[in-house]
Amino acid sequence: MVTRPMPDPKILIEHLTLHYSDGTESLNDINLAIPANAITVLFGPAGGGKSSLLRCINRLNDLADVKTLSGRILLDGENILDPKTDIIALRRKVGMVFARPVVLPLTIRGNLTYGLELAGERRRSRLDEAVERSLKQAALWDEVKDRLDDPASALSGGQQQRLCLARVLALQPEVILLDEPTSGLDPISTGKVEAALQELKKNYTIVLVPHSVQQAARTADYAAFFLQGKLIEYAPGQEIFTNPKDKRTEDYVMGRFG
């Protein structure tokens, strides 16, 4: 597999290898350049290592039982796997949306201001501003603007997931990681999330693990195919879904396995 030369990528992953103690998902010598202002899709069958890779990019794997981790992940040229990295700052810069919408047991507003307050923002006006901006970006403002102080758990599943996206956006990150963000949603909610992503990519670097090949094809500017911990093929979206180079990618894209 050849990594295409890419001028000035936002994230550059070099020789990343990861093994968990319990022997589930692993990553073997991954090399990947992720551009800014685009949606990069990581797809492939379950257990291929996509989620693990996402969790490396904001160091959420620190919470897991990792046996070996080697290689480098450069974000704007800085190796974030370096032990000296300020991971709190990193996580504010690299936000994450999870497969299941997990709203914190707070109000809608509380969910959105949570990260900012932790970062030390106390000014009410700034917080209100962030709430409105992030909700609009996530296409949720009109639905919840009159009940910002209701418990977030009262929202529907689709609304909760957009709230999770807004919660990340409130922190004004540079990179947004999404791990099957629409897997539990109905088609209408899924459409809203995907539309929001298309809008967001103008200002953010987006890395998405889709919940289906169809979603991958719909959303990808760039797409990377993962199989059993290896990166099989990486190319612009139109190329990989219409004219895959690797037989395995082709079989998967055509629905012959997976």
């Binding site: 032990p83 000296k84 990295t85």
Partner: protein, 298 residues
Amino acid sequence: MNETLSWKEYLITRAIKVTGYSAIVFVVLIFFFLLREGLPTLAEVPLSTLFSIRWYPIEGYYGILPLLSGSLIVTLGAALIAIPFGIGTAIYIAEIAPRWMREILKPLVELLGGLPSVVLGFLGILVLSPFLRRLLDLPTGLTAFTGSLLLGGIAIPTVVSIAEDALDAVPRSYREAALALGATHWQTIWRVTLPAARSGVLTAVMLGVGRAIGETMTVMMVTGNAPVLATSPGALFSPVRTMTATIAAEMGEVAGGSVHYHVLFFIGLVLFLISLAVNVTASAIVFRTRTRAERILS
């Protein structure tokens, strides 16, 4: 874990970690003080006296055998009551009772666990022992048997709550599989659910018995306090005195540092070691089955 911690967070985290070890510290401290105050006994009282059958401290007789036998007989009686009734009630609550009944029964059993033992002792003196004396035509109602009855009641909540948890933790699929194979509900309970929960039920029994051995106030109030070696099963219906009751009754009157004082601590040491043995065994059962379950599941 490399998190940038503010000094405040660093201190809090440190403090929390230190408190985490407090349980170990206290067990060690308790053991240490029992040793410190109890071990001089071995120098002051000849072993032949210590393991004799006469407890009469005023004249220097420190035979702890009658106290051991007293604890043993009362605990045995209590176990004979608490084990069947505790497990039976646990099975009823976990497997048979309708949901609303369960919601009533569980708090009620918990409530029994919360009743101060001194209240049960009080009722034992005023109500149960006169009743038993008349019923069984005994010279006194303050007997090992009276103690066993009440102690059984005190141990039951422990047995019920742990055994019920264990039964509740048996996966529903086990029961469904058994029922699907044509077993009756009753057969499923005996052949599938109960065996699957056996380590938890065993733990329940052990901790229940442990609770009974250590109980103090009730037995002090209702067992008649006669330090007589139990030699026949008939002793169940005569007054006895347990180790716990001896400590509680006599510690208030001894001079600190006297032989009697040391012997009472020595008895406390024996009680501590018994409860240590019971609980370490019980937790070994729990840990062993848990790791086995984890191996199977992973």
